[in-house]
């Protein structure tokens, strides 16, 4: 089996992720033997294969069920009742988290945000998405699965728009709540931008995009025209355009909607970018959680090839050739970071690369590569169609255009909002019918946690930049629990390459939990802030550079929460020291009780 899979990918080492995904989905795990066989088929070392297998969370070395259930463990899902839903699955299938039933039929796991926070709690059942779960619906689903129904047939009611397309047939809903003029407007005709681009020289295309003021929508906000110009200018034999559809930031799901409803616009955008820099190859890096969209996207690519919009010489381009392949992810948030994404496309562990050199000079396979977010690429098509000036007429001075916001949490209307940059948080909260909002997380865990005093701030690069996630938390939510959940996410998702992020985040979480559990001391905030400074300054990539933001922004925004949970140490003692807690550890090690602190010492043996 392994050899067949390897030859399907020409035993190309660069396609290791695809090969392992195939093996995982057929054999439900990647065994020691499979690792050896893959290594010998590809002519690489087994520890290299093992390194990749153990990096991505969708690969498993012990068998998963033929039906693998992955419950989304995001804070939004937890608040929406994920635990109760998990309980139902667990009881109905007779397995706990991380377990596989003895007959090999089912496995149950928790997984990081699957991009469905607007319809939480949600789960993945193999590649199918089960959104908006309740204990009741979970029970019905579990029953059907036990009766032998395949995951593909679980849902009869499909979602809106293309979610009910024959190649998607998913229960997911788009939840488009605010339609803007640039990306979600109903009358967008794909193909127009591409046509206009081909009428111009590549240089002019870059100029048009630069002139529009478009900045990257993946979070960092790098000027897109400048990125294209840099990749174009660097001398090279080959060049690449990669679309970043990893969308892993918890609470973000707007790319899901664009992939579902604006795929043609996206592929137009990739083709325009390729034309602009002279690339002949493109990759769409699609997160594993969005596998349910793959068949649909592949079909669109095939159709574009058939109609001359992709391939050797593209229709209307006078000799320009370009094609796109889909690279699936395998469960790793860090692969959204552009250089880690490139590593992953090369079949490596999804670790960021040293920069410089930057991807625009040495990216995929060492060639100039432009990596752009889904939304950025869709914007490129519209800019070419309607002109940079039209685009720049939306938004603010430094933030041209509109932004798709993924709104989730304690609000009446979670979903996708396309609003011009510059929108105030307060205006957005009204639109989404927020329920007594007290905390808003702008930009997901790596963004800023803000409280009421900051609700007049604006969503734009000049003030509150965001990749699109806006999580709303009502007054009854516990700020520290949110911080703790975000740190847990970063600890799970750190690639582990560098010391500060790998170790420092664990220490941050330990201290937050100490405070949460009532053992906080006044000095703890200084400790957290100082540790955060070191992690931010010394980390190798954006993950570590931002992972402490939930800590620092919550200390700054909610000092009273911390004050109420921390005590002044007295008489030189650690206020956070709890003799019973310390003893508990000793009791376990010594397997006996304390003569002094355990009252009933001697009354019974301490073997408890």
């Amino acid at each position: 089996m392994v050899n067949v899979v390897c030859s399907k990918f020409n035993s190309d080492r660069g396609r290791l992720i695809d090969i392992l995904l195939d093996i995982q989905s057929t054999a439900r795990h990647i065994s020691e033997e499979a690792i050896e066989e893959v290594a010998s088929a590809l002519g690489i070392h087994r520890v290299e294969v093992e390194g990749v297998v153990t990096f991505y969370s969708f690969f498993s070395q012990t068998p998963k069920g033929r039906v693998a259930i992955r419950l989304c463990d995001d804070i939004i899902d937890r608040h929406a009742g994920a635990e109760a839903v998990g309980q139902v699955f667990s009881e109905a299938l007779g397995i706990g988290y991380g377990q596989t039933s003895t007959d090999g039929r089912f496995s149950l796991d928790k997984t990081a945000c699957i991009g469905m926070s607007d319809q939480a709690p949600a789960a993945l059942i193999n590649n199918e998405v089960a959104p908006s779960l309740t204990p009741d619906t979970a029970r019905r689903i579990a029953l059907r699965l036990v009766q032998g129904m395949p995951p593909e047939s679980l849902f009869e009611d499909f979602g809106d728009g293309n979610n009910s397309h024959p190649l998607i047939r998913s229960a997911v809903n788009n939840n488009i709540r605010l339609i803007g003029d640039i990306l979600l407007a109903g009358d967008i005709e794909s193909g127009k931008g591409l046509e206009r681009a081909f009428a111009l020289t590549p240089e002019r295309v870059v100029e048009e995009i630069s002139g529009s003021g478009l900045r990257g929508r993946g979070g960092a906000g790098f000027p897109t025209g400048k990125k294209l110009a840099l990749a174009r200018a660097f001398p090279a034999q080959r060049r690449f355009v990669i679309c970043n559809a990893d969308e892993g930031e918890p609470g973000t799901f707007k790319d899901r909607v664009l992939l579902t409803e604006r795929a043609e616009l996206l592929f137009d955008g990739m083709t325009i970018a390729a034309y602009a820099i002279g690339a002949s190859e493109g990759i769409l890096y699609l997160r594993a959680e969005y596998s349910y969209l793959r068949g649909y996207l592949e079909e669109i690519l095939a159709r574009r090839r058939a109609s001359g919009l992709l391939g050797g010489e593209i229709h209307g381009s006078k000799g320009f050739g370009f094609d796109i392949r889909i690279q699936m992810g395998a469960g790793a948030y860090i692969c959204g970071e552009e250089s880690a994404l490139i590593s992953s496309c090369e079949g490596l562990r999804g670790e960021p690369k040293n920069r410089p050199p930057f991807p625009v000079e040495k990216g995929y396979l060492g060639y100039p590569t432009v990596v752009n977010n889904v939304e950025t690429l869709c914007n490129i098509s519209r800019i070419m169609e309607r002109g940079g000036a039209w685009f720049a007429s939306y938004g603010t001075g430094q933030s041209a255009g509109t932004k798709l916001l993924s709104v989730s949490g304690d609000c009446g209307k979670p979903g996708v909002y396309e609003a011009p940059f510059g929108l105030r948080v307060r205006e957005l909260l009204e639109m989404v019918e927020a329920d007594n909002p007290a905390i808003v997380q702008v930009g997901g865990p790596s963004g800023a946690m803000i409280g009421k005093v900051d609700f007049d701030r604006r969503i734009c690069f000049e003030d509150l930049p965001t990749g699109g996630a806006v999580m709303v938390f009502g007054a009854r939510r516990n700020a520290l629990k949110i911080v703790d959940a975000f740190l847990e996410f970063f600890i799970d998702e750190s690639c582990g390459y560098c010391t500060p992020c790998r170790v420092g985040n664990v220490f941050l979480q330990e201290r937050i939990q100490k405070i949460m559990n009532g053992f906080g001391e006044t000095g703890d905030m200084d400790y957290l802030e100082s540790l955060s400074r070191t992690i931010t300054a010394t980390s190798r990539c954006g993950l570590g550079a931002t992972s402490s933001r939930p800590v620092t922004s919550s200390i700054q925004q909610f000092p009273l929460v911390y004050a109420s949970l921390t005590k002044e140490p007295k008489d030189g003692l650690h206020a956070g020291f709890d003799i019973q807690r310390g003893l508990e550890i000793s009791r376990k090690i010594a397997r006996r009780q304390s003569m002094i602190y355990d009252r009933r010492y001697g009354e019974e043996d301490g073997q408890a």
């Binding site: 562990r349 010391t499 500060p500």
Partner: protein, 252 residues
């Protein structure tokens, strides 16, 4: 591959440039790493994952400096003309101290019973940054099995700082690929290219097994433990960096 070739960009860059470290003017080749240029000038930048003879990796971050106010890892950052580099400042020393502490608390560093004591770079670095006492950081206390399968070499990754020096030495110098990274995040560790060390091609003559490779006490030679008496161990005699600092004034 020549060390730091990645930065040399191959052809263009053998031209001389100048920049400053803590105000001192330094001459370097454009594209050379900051750490390498500093070494040549007799200025020691503390480091753990970087070692002479292997390509730099940039993972421990102890060599962090500020370049034009921005923190970067100096072992993997190419120098440009007129860069203003800060190295020995209070802020940077504090970062480095924190990083050393993180590594000390991540693994099981019971120095008095460790075979590498006295020649351990982590221990020496802790002394340099005055972190010899435990502090508020928690201990993570890993419990990974020790691999004693090989007749001559033992691997105890409970002290591993993930510096990858063994991996690079085995891959690039010995051309054997005995070691590789496994897992991710806090569970990232060093694995071997077989079921255990005995089934790999490692032997005592390998660069990967040399005393210079593992900066701590993970790769241990059997039967030759504690070979130097206290007072005569490597770092009893001189601290890491002394050699480099000696270059200064010798006109390099």
């Amino acid at each position: 591959m020549a060390r730091h070739e990645a930065f040399d960009g191959g052809e263009e860059t053998r031209q001389r440039i100048t920049f400053t470290i803590d105000g001192e003017k330094i001459t370097a080749f454009a594209g050379q790493s900051i750490l390498e240029a500093a070494d040549a000038a007799g200025i020691y930048i503390p480091r753990l994952c970087d070692v002479e003879g292997l390509d730099p990796q940039g993972s421990c971050r102890v060599c962090t400096v500020k370049v034009n106010s921005r923190p970067v890892a100096s072992c993997v950052h190419p120098v440009s003309a007129d860069d203003v580099v800060e190295n020995d400042t209070e802020e940077i020393r504090r970062w480095r101290r924190d990083l050393i502490k993180m590594l000390l608390h991540e693994g099981n560093h019971l120095c008095p019973i460790c075979e590498a004591s006295g020649r351990c770079e982590l221990q020496a670095m802790a002394a340099r940054f005055e972190t010899l006492e435990p502090d508020l950081y928690p201990y993570l206390q890993p419990v990974r099995p020790v691999d004693a399968s090989h007749p001559d070499i033992m691997l105890d990754t409970n002290r591993c700082i993930r510096c990858g020096r063994c991996i690079r030495a085995s891959r690039d110098v010995d051309r054997k690929y005995v070691f590789g990274y496994i897992g991710r995040g806090i569970h990232k560790r060093v694995g071997v290219n077989a079921t255990d060390l005995a089934h790999t091609r490692i032997d005592l003559d390998d660069a990967a097994a040399s005393l210079e490779t593992c900066p701590v006490g993970c790769i241990i030679r059997k039967r030759v433990g504690f070979f130097a008496p206290i007072g005569r161990r490597q770092f009893d005699l001189q601290a890491p960096g002394d050699e480099i600092e000696k270059r200064k004034g010798e006109g390099k």
